[in-house]
C-alpha cells in the first residue's frame, strides 16, 4: 500500500486547443513515463479521430513516479485526462471527481474561454484545489499579464500566483511539477475501510471487455474480490486490477487514494455506467459516491445508408460502435423517402458528429443523415406524457394539449465589442437572458436559457462568425419548457417526404418552410415533368416553388467522329445519377438532405 500523503491525483482542464495534450506529454516525459524519442506525439489522445480533431474522447489515467529535486521525496502522480470538448460537462465532472486538484491551463494568447470558465467552475464546485497556468508563453502573441488578470478574476486569486509555462519548449514544467506536490492536497483520509471506488470512465477492449477507470475512495480492491456496482446492481468479480504507466500493469490491489483500472470480464459496455460506485458484494457500502447521472441522449437523427443494400452493414457498425460508446442509442426506423435506417440518439451535437464520421470513415458507409431533432415531450388529451424523438411521431394537433422542449443553459464568453451581435443571435434563437458578467473590461460572460432545438443547427458556427472567431460557448441541460411548436412537412410532387419534416417554433415555421423550399428548388435538378415543392403545416400550404420540367438535355454539337468521348461523358454523368434517391418519381440528390441540416445557416 502506498502512503497516501505521497499521492497527488490531478487533471488538466482547458479550453480546446489551449495545449492540454502537449502539457500532458511534457509531464509524462519529465517523469520518465515515456522517453521523448519514443513518444508518439500526444500519447493521451489515442484515437486517430481525436488526433485530427485535437480533442479527446476517452479519458485515461496515468500513474507517474516523481522525485522532488528539492526535497528528494518520492511521489506518485496520477494524471487523469479529462475530455477536452464534450457535449455536456458530466463526463468532465466524473473525471474531476477522481481528483483532489486540477491544473487550469489557459492559452496566454487566447485568454480565458467559455470552457475554461465552465471547467474552472466544475473544479471549484467539486472542491478541487486549482493551479492556474498560462501556456504558450513562446508565442509572439502571448499576453501573460492580461490573461493572468482574467484568470485571477475567474478564480478570485492573485495574478502573481498564476504559473507560466510553454508546454512546447518545456519552459516552466519543472516548477509546475514542484507546485503539483506542494500546492495540491493528497487524498483525504479514508472512511471506515468499506470499499468505495468511483468509476470515472470506461473503455472497451476487444480482448478484455470493458475496462473501468476507478478512483478508490475508501477501502481496498484486490484481484479476485467479489464486487457490486451500486447503480446497476451488477455483481461482478475483480478479474484484474492495475495501473497505467501508461502501459497497463496489473497490481495486487488498489487502496484508498489510488487510481487505476479494473477489469470484470463484462463484455457489454452498457452494463458499466460511468459515475457508478464499486463496492464489495460481501460488505457493501451504505451509500454511493455522489454525483451519479444516467447518460441521456439529447439529440436524435435518422441515419440511412445511401445504398439500401448497406442496411445490414450499418447495423453491424452501430453494434460495434456501441461496444465502447454506451451513450449511443439507436432503433430501426423506416422512412418512406429513405428506406430502412436507424433513429439514433446522441449526447449532443459533437457526439453525433463523431459517430457519423466514424461510421463513414472506419466502416466506409455512405450515409444520409436527417435533420437533428430533440426529444420533445407531448402532453396528450388523456394527460399522458409522450416523448417524441422524430417529427414523424408527433401526434395530431387535436390529440395533444401541449409540447415541451428541452432547454439549455448556454454560457457564452465574448469580447465586449460583440456583445450586441451575440445578444441578437441569442434572441433570434429564442434565448432568454439569465445573467451577464464582466470578466474584465474587454470580456463578458452572457448566460442564456435557450431551447436545445435552436442550437442543434449551426449555432456554434454562427457564434464564431459573429464574433470573428473570438466567442466561445458551453452549455448545460436545463430542464424542459412548454413551447408553441408545429410540424412543418415538405411535399415533393404532392407527396410528403418524411425525412424533410421538422418540429419548429410557430413563429419560425413560415421562414423555415420558405428557406427549405427555396433551397430544395435550387438543389433538385430539373426532371422530365414539373415538380412542385411545398411546405405545409397540416393541410395548410405555407410555401411553394416549382422545379420546371427540363426541356433540353442533349449534346447537339458536331462530333467529328469522336463517339468515345461522348460516351465517356455520359457515363460520368450517369455516376452522378446513381447518387440520387428516388422519392416517388422524383430524383433527389444527396446534397438535398444535407441542405436540410444547413437551412438555419446563412
Amino acid at each position: 500500500m502506498t502512503d497516501t500523503s505521497r499521492i497527488r491525483n490531478f487533471s488538466i482542464i482547458a479550453h480546446i486547443d489551449h495545449g492540454k495534450s502537449t502539457l500532458a506529454d511534457r509531464i509524462l516525459e519529465r517523469t520518465g513515463a515515456i522517453a521523448a524519442r519514443d513518444m508518439r506525439e500526444q500519447v493521451l489522445d489515442s484515437m486517430d479521430l481525436e488526433r485530427e480533431r485535437g480533442i479527446t474522447i476517452k479519458a485515461q489515467a496515468v500513474r507517474l513516479h516523481y522525485t522532488s529535486p528539492r526535497t528528494g521525496e518520492e511521489y506518485i502522480l496520477n494524471l487523469i485526462d479529462t475530455p477536452g470538448h464534450v457535449d455536456f460537462s458530466y463526463e468532465v465532472s466524473r473525471s474531476l471527481a477522481a481528483c483532489e486538484g486540477a491544473i487550469l491551463l489557459v492559452d496566454a494568447a487566447q485568454g480565458v474561454e467559455a470552457q475554461t470558465l465552465a471547467n474552472a467552475y466544475l473544479a471549484i464546485e467539486g472542491g478541487l484545489e486549482v493551479i492556474p497556468v498560462l501556456n504558450k508563453l513562446d508565442l509572439p502573441a502571448a499576453d501573460p499579464e492580461r490573461v493572468a488578470l482574467e484568470v485571477a478574476v475567474v478564480l478570485g486569486g492573485d495574478p502573481g500566483e498564476v504559473m507560466r509555462v510553454s508546454a512546447k519548449t518545456g519552459e516552466g514544467i519543472d516548477a509546475l511539477l514542484e507546485a503539483i506536490v506542494d500546492r495540491l492536497p493528497p487524498p483525504a483520509p479514508a472512511g471506515d475501510g468499506t470499499l468505495r471506488a468511483l468509476v470515472f470512465d470506461s473503455y472497451y477492449d476487444i480482448y478484455r471487455g470493458v475496462v473501468c477507470y476507478v478512483r478508490v475512495t475508501d477501502g481496498v480492491v484486490a484481484t479476485g474480490d467479489p464486487l457490486r456496482f451500486m447503480a446497476t446492481g451488477e455483481d461482478l468479480p475483480a478479474e484484474e486490477v492495475g495501473v497505467l504507466t501508461p502501459k497497463a500493469v496489473p497490481v495486487a490491489s488498489l487502496s484508498a487514494g489510488e487510481v487505476g483500472y479494473l477489469i470484470t470480464g463484462v463484455k457489454e459496455v452498457e452494463r458499466i455506467k460511468v459515475g457508478d460506485t464499486v463496492t464489495r458484494r460481501d460488505r457493501p457500502a451504505k451509500q454511493m459516491l455522489p454525483g451519479y447521472r444516467e447518460p441521456k441522449p439529447m439529440v436524435f437523427s435518422g441515419l440511412f445508408p445511401t445504398d439500401g443494400d448497406e442496411f445490414e452493414r450499418l447495423r453491424e457498425a452501430l453494434e460495434r460502435l456501441r461496444l465502447n460508446d454506451a451513450a449511443l442509442v439507436y432503433e430501426p426506423e423506416t422512412s418512406r423517402a429513405l428506406g430502412f435506417g436507424f433513429r439514433c440518439g446522441f449526447l449532443g451535437l459533437l457526439h453525433m458528429e463523431i459517430v457519423r464520421e466514424r461510421l463513414e470513415r472506419e466502416y466506409g458507409l455512405e450515409l444520409v443523415t436527417t435533420a437533428p431533432s430533440v426529444a420533445f415531450r407531448v402532453r396528450l388529451s388523456g394527460g399522458e406524457i409522450r416523448e417524441v424523438r422524430s417529427p414523424q411521431d408527433l401526434p395530431e394537433s387535436i390529440e395533444r394539449i401541449e409540447i415541451s422542449e428541452p432547454m439549455m443553459r448556454v454560457m457564452i464568453l465574448t469580447p465586449t465589442e460583440y456583445t450586441g451581435t451575440v445578444m441578437e443571435l441569442l434572441q433570434e434563437h429564442r434565448g432568454v437572458m439569465s445573467s451577464m458578467n464582466y470578466l474584465s473590461k474587454e470580456r463578458i460572460e452572457l448566460v442564456y436559457r435557450v431551447p436545445l432545438a435552436e442550437i442543434v443547427f449551426g449555432f456554434f458556427d454562427q457564434l464564431k462568425s459573429r464574433t470573428r472567431g473570438y466567442g466561445s460557448l458551453d452549455y448545460e441541460v436545463d430542464g424542459y419548457a412548454v413551447s408553441d411548436l408545429v410540424r412543418v412537412d415538405i411535399l415533393l410532387n404532392e407527396l410528403p417526404v418524411d425525412a424533410f419534416s421538422a418540429i419548429v417554433h410557430k413563429d419560425k415555421a413560415y421562414l423555415y418552410g420558405r428557406k427549405l423550399v427555396d433551397r430544395l428548388r435550387e438543389l433538385i435538378p430539373r426532371q422530365l415533368f414539373d415538380v412542385p415543392i411545398q411546405a405545409a403545416i397540416g393541410s395548410r400550404i405555407i410555401a411553394r416553388e416549382t422545379v420546371k420540367a427540363k426541356r433540353k438535355d442533349v449534346l447537339a454539337k458536331c462530333y467529328g467522329g469522336d463517339v468515345t468521348r461522348k460516351r465517356k461523358l455520359l457515363e460520368k454523368q450517369k455516376e452522378g445519377k446513381r447518387r440520387m434517391k428516388m422519392l416517388g418519381s422524383v430524383e433527389v440528390p444527396q446534397e438535398a438532405f444535407i441542405a436540410v441540416l444547413r437551412v438555419d445557416e446563412d
Binding site: K552, V554, G561, D562, V563, K574
Partner: protein, 383 residues
C-alpha cells in the same frame, strides 16, 4: 413515304454496311472561342499534306470502295484545291471510290468564291458544308467568326450553283441572339439540301468557357430548346426532314458519312486528332500536328488511343448512336432492356421514347442524353 427520306429506317439502317473516310485539316485563320477541336492557327500546310498522303498510303483498304469521304477541320480550305485534289486522289487509289460516292468538304463562307468553288469541284468534291453559323453580324462577331452575313449569303449562292449538294451549319443559343429564326429562314431561302443546327456548347478549356467562368452569359438551355423547335418547324416547312438530333436533309440528301457514324458503321480517319472506327475498334490519332507528322514520317503509327467495345458494351453503343436518329434503331437486347426497365417505362410515360414495332425511337430529341444515361445505367446482360 418516299423511300429515300432520311428518317426512313431502311435508309439509315443500310448505312451500317457502308464505309467512309474522314480527313482532318487542322489549320484555321483564327480560333473560334467555342471550338475544342484539334486545330491551330497557321502552319506548314505542305508538310501536313505530305503526312496525310503518307498515312493514307499505308492504310488498309476496306473490303469495299468508299461510300463517303468527309474532309473536315479546322478549315479544309486553308489547303489549296490542288493539294486537296491530291488527298482525294490518294484516297481513291488506296480505297477506291464507289460510283456516286459522297465527297464532302467543309468551308468557311469567306473562303468560297466562284473560283475556289470550281477548284474544289474539280478536285472531286460533290458536297460542300458551309460554316455559316448565323446571318446576324453581331452574333457572328460574338462567335469570333471572320465573315459577315452578306459573305455567307454570297457563298451559299455560289455553292448552290456549283455543287450538287449543299449544307449549311448554324449555331443556336448564342446569348443575345435575337434573330435566330431569321438566320434559319435565310439559309433555307438559299435552297440548301441539308441543314445542321448545333447548340452553342461550353467546352472545357475553350476561350468561351473562360469567359463564362469570368461572368459572361452562358447559353440558356430553355432558350436553346425554343431555338431548336423553331428551326425544326422552319426546316420541315421548307421540305427538309430531321433525320438526326442536329441534322435535316431533303430526301436523298442525308449526309452519308453522318449516317455511317450513327449506324455504328466503319470509317477510316487521317490527320491529327482524327477518330476512326474499324474492325470493331475505335482509335484516334495524336492531337498535336508536329507530333503527328513526326510519327508518320518516321513510319510509326500516329494512333494515340484505342477502345475496343465488345458484347454488351458494343450493343449499348449501337443503341446509343442509333437513338440519335429520327428513324430510331432496332431495339435488340439493349433497346429491349431499356424499354422494359423502370427508367424506360418513365421515359415512355413522359413521351421521351417510344417502341415502334421492333424499333425504339427518341420522340423528344432534346432529351436524348437523359435516355442515353438510362441506357448506360442498365445492368449488362450476356450478348
Amino acid at each position: 413515304m418516299r423511300t429515300d427520306r432520311p428518317d426512313n429506317p431502311a435508309v439509315v439502317d443500310a448505312a451500317a454496311e457502308l464505309v467512309a473516310a474522314y480527313v482532318h485539316v487542322p489549320f484555321c485563320r483564327r480560333l473560334c472561342p467555342y471550338c475544342d477541336f484539334a486545330v491551330q492557327v497557321g502552319g506548314d500546310t505542305d508538310r501536313y499534306v505530305t503526312a496525310l498522303l503518307a498515312e493514307i498510303a499505308s492504310a488498309e483498304p476496306f473490303s469495299r470502295p468508299l461510300d463517303a469521304v468527309f474532309v473536315g477541320g479546322g478549315t479544309p480550305t486553308s489547303l489549296p484545291p490542288r493539294r486537296l485534289a491530291e488527298v482525294v486522289e490518294q484516297l481513291a487509289s488506296r480505297f477506291g471510290l464507289a460510283p456516286g460516292a459522297e465527297v464532302s468538304i467543309e468551308a468557311n463562307p469567306e473562303d468560297v468564291d466562284a473560283g475556289v468553288a470550281a477548284g474544289l469541284r474539280t478536285a472531286g468534291f460533290n458536297r460542300i458544308s458551309l460554316g455559316v453559323q448565323s446571318l446576324d453580324s453581331s452574333v457572328l462577331r460574338s462567335l469570333g467568326r471572320s465573315h459577315g452575313p452578306e459573305e455567307a449569303v454570297a457563298a451559299l449562292g455560289v455553292a448552290r450553283r456549283i455543287f450538287p449538294s449543299v449544307n449549311a451549319d448554324l449555331i443556336f443559343g448564342t446569348p443575345g441572339d435575337a434573330t435566330w429564326i431569321e438566320s434559319v429562314r435565310g439559309v433555307l431561302a438559299s435552297d440548301v439540301d441539308h441543314l445542321s443546327v448545333y447548340a452553342l456548347t461550353v467546352e472545357r478549356g475553350t476561350a468561351l468557357s473562360r469567359a463564362v467562368a469570368a461572368g459572361a452569359a452562358a447559353p440558356d438551355p430553355d432558350e436553346q430548346a425554343d431555338c431548336y423547335q423553331a428551326a425544326t418547324a422552319a426546316a420541315e416547312a421548307a421540305g427538309l426532314v430531321r433525320y438526326e438530333t442536329s441534322n435535316f436533309a431533303r430526301p436523298g440528301r442525308a449526309c452519308v458519312y453522318n449516317l455511317i457514324t450513327w449506324a455504328q458503321g466503319e470509317y477510316a480517319a487521317f490527320g491529327n486528332g482524327a477518330h476512326r472506327h474499324r474492325d470493331g475498334e475505335r482509335s484516334w490519332n495524336i492531337r498535336r500536328v508536329d507530333r503527328y507528322e513526326e510519327r508518320v514520317f518516321a513510319g510509326e503509327s500516329p494512333v494515340s488511343g484505342r477502345e475496343h467495345l465488345t458484347g454488351w458494351n458494343r450493343e449499348v453503343e449501337r443503341v446509343l448512336l442509333g437513338l440519335r436518329r429520327a428513324a430510331g434503331v432496332p431495339a435488340g437486347s439493349a433497346g429491349s432492356a431499356l424499354l422494359a426497365s423502370p427508367a424506360g417505362e418513365r421515359l415512355v410515360a413522359a413521351g421521351v421514347i417510344a417502341a415502334d414495332g421492333d424499333r425504339v425511337r427518341v420522340t423528344r430529341p432534346l432529351l436524348g442524353d437523359e435516355v442515353a444515361r438510362e441506357l448506360l445505367a442498365l445492368e449488362p446482360i450476356e450478348c
